[in-house]
């Protein structure tokens, strides 16, 4: 049923999924988007969770796919997600848009089914297919009732969509047109302009910085998608995450069934190395009432030993919602912004550290000055012992609520699998957070957030 009560509903947490169109009335106004944000950001990065009681089983299916499984018997539901190293970072130069279109078009035709048949079957069994593509990965996720008829039909559909997409020409032309219309629309929006320019500026000459354009999308052919699927959706590179009301034996059969017919390709792939940007300030004209500001740089990759110091340190700087320094200085004290935050988002290679805010254009210089002072001071001194203790308390005590649903756990399973994190990641989390010292935070920020590489992008600058 359509929900229509929200002002800013985002039905999907994934980058690439989006706003619900029909939310017509501006009915609910949240106190803070950043706070919601924080929680879900942490969730999606599997950066904060926990421990006791979650038993993750892992094996490699005969197909070669890596499988991560949690048996959860309370609700009669099943969640499955398959991740591939098939994000934008693996797309050839000049082909930006291929990763997203390949993922998005899986449901427009597969095996003997056309898109109406696929959509109809899903609806008839009450199942949901989701997912998307970001810079590193492409995901396909399924939620279904666990009753046999529904589950069988849902898994069969997922298998077909993953293994035998047909990329129909007519659907491709339509989706290219929609994508191009979307790009042109985004080129008018200050937040979209700022995001794209920021990515391009901090990732010069790197696929992490490339966004699809009208030209690149126009040039994409059916063969490009089929080829990308063949090379990047292979069983050997696949990570299958399963949680729900099924046994280990059933999960084994499910994983094999979903991956046995995948293309032969796939395997360890790494995007080209990231080059550090030079310090720069980029100002872009726009008539908006507010300037949109991003400050940041490529910071850290998954598996880096400095991850926990940066993560814990960022809580105090701008990750901890209303208790963060940026929120206090920029919003609470001066009223400069509704939303101001910082985050660290590790990727396969160096993912971004970013500070963001929007503020009335006349005061953007003042707001930026405050941001830079807070950041400089924090890099030099790190948190106070009291701040560090508070950060740890929130992150450790809050673990329980970061993994209190199958949906959240599924996100962690897929992150652990995709990034090759240890199976004990959740169990170790609290210990790693507790072990972080002020000195480690200062050292980590000094290593990963260097002033000489910080890029500032301001859209709607005077």
């Amino acid at each position: 049923m359509k929900q229509s009560k929200l002002i800013a509903p985002h039905p999907h947490p994934r980058p690439g999924a989006g706003l619900l169109v029909g939310s017509l009335r501006s009915i609910i106004v949240w106190r803070s988007r950043a706070l919601l944000a924080l929680v879900c950001l942490m969730t999606s990065l599997a950066s904060s969770l926990v421990s006791a009681g979650v038993k993750i089983e892992h094996w490699v299916a005969p197909s070669g796919a890596k499988v991560y499984f949690v048996e959860a018997r309370v609700l009669p539901i099943l969640d499955v997600q398959i991740d591939f190293a098939a994000g934008g970072a693996f797309v050839a130069a000049g082909k930006a848009g291929v990763a997203g279109l390949t993922r998005g078009m899986l449901e427009t035709g597969a095996g003997a089914l056309d898109e109406e048949a696929i959509a109809g079957r899903l609806v008839d069994i009450g199942a949901r297919l989701g997912g998307g593509a970001d810079s590193d990965r492409a995901s396909v996720s399924l939620r279904t009732l666990v009753s046999r008829t529904e589950r069988e039909a849902a898994l069969e559909l997922m298998r077909t969509v993953l293994s035998a997409p047909t990329f129909p020409q007519a659907a491709l032309e339509r989706e290219k047109a929609r994508t191009i219309a979307g790009i042109r629309e985004a080129e008018t929006r200050p937040d979209a302009i700022a995001g794209k320019r920021f990515a391009a500026a901090i990732y010069p000459d790197h696929p992490y910085g490339v966004s699809p354009t009208v030209e690149t999308v126009s040039a994409i052919s059916r063969d490009d998608l089929a080829d990308f699927h063949r090379r990047h959706y292979g069983a050997k590179g696949a990570v299958v995450s399963i949680i729900g009301d099924v046994s280990r034996a059933e999960a084994e059969a499910i994983a094999q069934r979903l991956t046995e017919a995948l293309p032969a390709g796939g395997g360890a792939l790494v995007p080209p190395p990231v080059k550090m940007p030079q310090r720069a300030t980029i100002k872009i004209p726009h008539p908006a009432a507010q300037s949109h500001v991003h400050v940041g740089l490529p910071a850290i990759s998954r598996g880096d030993a400095d991850y926990f110091p940066l993560l814990v340190g960022n809580y105090t700087l701008g990750g901890g919602g209303f208790v963060s320094r940026l929120m206090k200085e920029v919003r609470e004290k001066r009223g400069y912004a509704y939303s101001v935050y910082s985050y660290v988002a590790p990727r396969k290679l160096e993912g971004p550290f970013e500070i963001g805010l929007q503020t009335k254009r006349e005061q953007v210089d003042d707001a930026l000055k405050v941001v830079n002072e807070v950041l400089t001071d924090y890099i030099a001194k790190g948190p106070t012992p009291q701040e560090l203790a508070a950060a740890k308390k929130n992150m450790v005590d809050g673990l329980a609520l970061r993994m209190d649903s199958n949906a959240k756990l599924l996100g962690y399973l897929s992150a652990i699998g995709f990034h090759g994190l240890p199976l004990s990641y959740l169990d170790d989390f609290a210990g790693k957070v507790k072990a972080v010292t002020v000195e480690q935070i200062r050292a980590a920020f000094a290593r990963h957030v260097k002033a000489e590489n910080l890029v500032t992008v301001v859209v709607a600058a005077d």
Binding site: M1, K2, S4, L6, A8, P9, H10, P13, G16, G18, L19, L20, V21, G22, L24, S26, V29, R31, R33, L36, L38, V39, C40, L75, I77, G100, M105, A119, L122, V123, D124, I125, A177, A181, G182, E185, A186, D191, G195, A199, I282, K283, I284, P287, A288, A289, Q290, E332, G335, Y338, S339, Y343, E354, Q358, A390, K393, G398, L399, L401, M403
Partner: protein
Amino acid sequence: MRSLRILAEAPISPFRQRLPNPYMRSSFAAIALLAVAALPAPTLANPYETKLANGLRVIVKEDPRAPTAVHMVWYRAGSMDEKDGTSGVAHVLEHLMFKGTRTLKSGEFNKRVAEAGGRDNAFTSRDYTAYFQIVPKAALPEMMKLEADRMANLTLDAKEFAAEIKVVMEERRLRTDDNPQGLVHEALNSTLFQAHPYRRPVIGWMDDLEHMTWQDARDWYRQWYAPNNAYVVVVGDVDHREVFRLAQKYYGAYKSKALPERKPQNEPEQAGIRRVSVKAPAKLPYLAMAWKAPKLRDVQKDRDPYALEVLAAILDGHDASRFSKNLVRGSRIAQSAGAGYDGSLRGEATFTLDGQPAEGKTIAELEAALRAELKRVQDEGVSAEELARVKTQSIAAQTYKRDSLMAQAMEIGGMEASGLNWRDIDTLLEKLKTVTAEEVQAVAKKYFTDDTLSIAVLDPQPIEQSKPRKPSGAVRH
């Protein structure tokens, strides 16, 4: 379209504009706020309800899946209770509720929640204002104590207000002034409703925000924040008797208050189509159409609201719905198209259609296509298969919802906020299942006349030719 089918690496469709990363992450809000009619839950004794002597109702749903709990307080005071000249005050007060109380310093509330490992937030709608914390269950008593404290002991002062009103103005710029579709929705509401308070935006008119005083916020607080104008919802790994006891201990201390009179402010009957257009920097035009519609008053006897809910789902409830199939995929007239009906509210209901024309198509063509879809239902009705799909979707959603404590708490709270009773959550689902094809066709014929229609369109302007809101100097790259 219910779910967008293309997921590009950089979000690129108009509805997937590149938001700063954290903005993409408020998904749980969307899940939590699903229309109440769609998501009933099986109930026996659970949930449990009690009422304190001061009028505060406490509703507890025990769900021991994880060692966590959601605690919410809902006040029956939203923007519809505001007066002209102080629009937005309900929401401004919501912001100020995080400042100090007689015993708690400003900012301390958030700090306590954070240190408990929890998270908290609040939201304001036309009908209500609500506050919540999600915490490890051991922290529930402290949350109830904190929330009860600010029900009565808020210390409002001019200095805190002066900083916070600026934050709210920034929020308005972000949500509405720089958001073309936000501007269109605001224009549509103020056209569609002329007497009813739903005509005012929840965030408030900018001019009203600029002239608001801390005393306006204080007055609002004194008038509406009372135990007899609120209810508490707790869902999680809790014992309801213990929650009742804590509620008595913390909330039971306050006296009930005489509340201001709520006048009906009914909208006079509309007689003739209304159109409004908004110019803003954008590329694609946007169209929103809203018809006056009945709301749900008597869950047992009413029929039309259920039929309208089913109609909305058939048009735009899922990926195989008519708008996706016919307008986005089939004729390719629409870049996107949606339908919405919410009959569970305190004020007046509408049925809405909206969308963006595909490139090369016009607003007029999209409007004609949306009307043609309505006409098809009027002339030919809907199929048994379509009805069955709506039911299947509802039943699946009912099960999936149990994966989220917040969704369950929101369902109870939202139901109560609209003046219905949480005990009727199941009834709504059962009633939805009884809707017939004939009833859907009948409501399609009955309510979609031009006499009660209002239409708002976005007239996109090139950004190069749009002026900044204030004069500005030369721009450097």
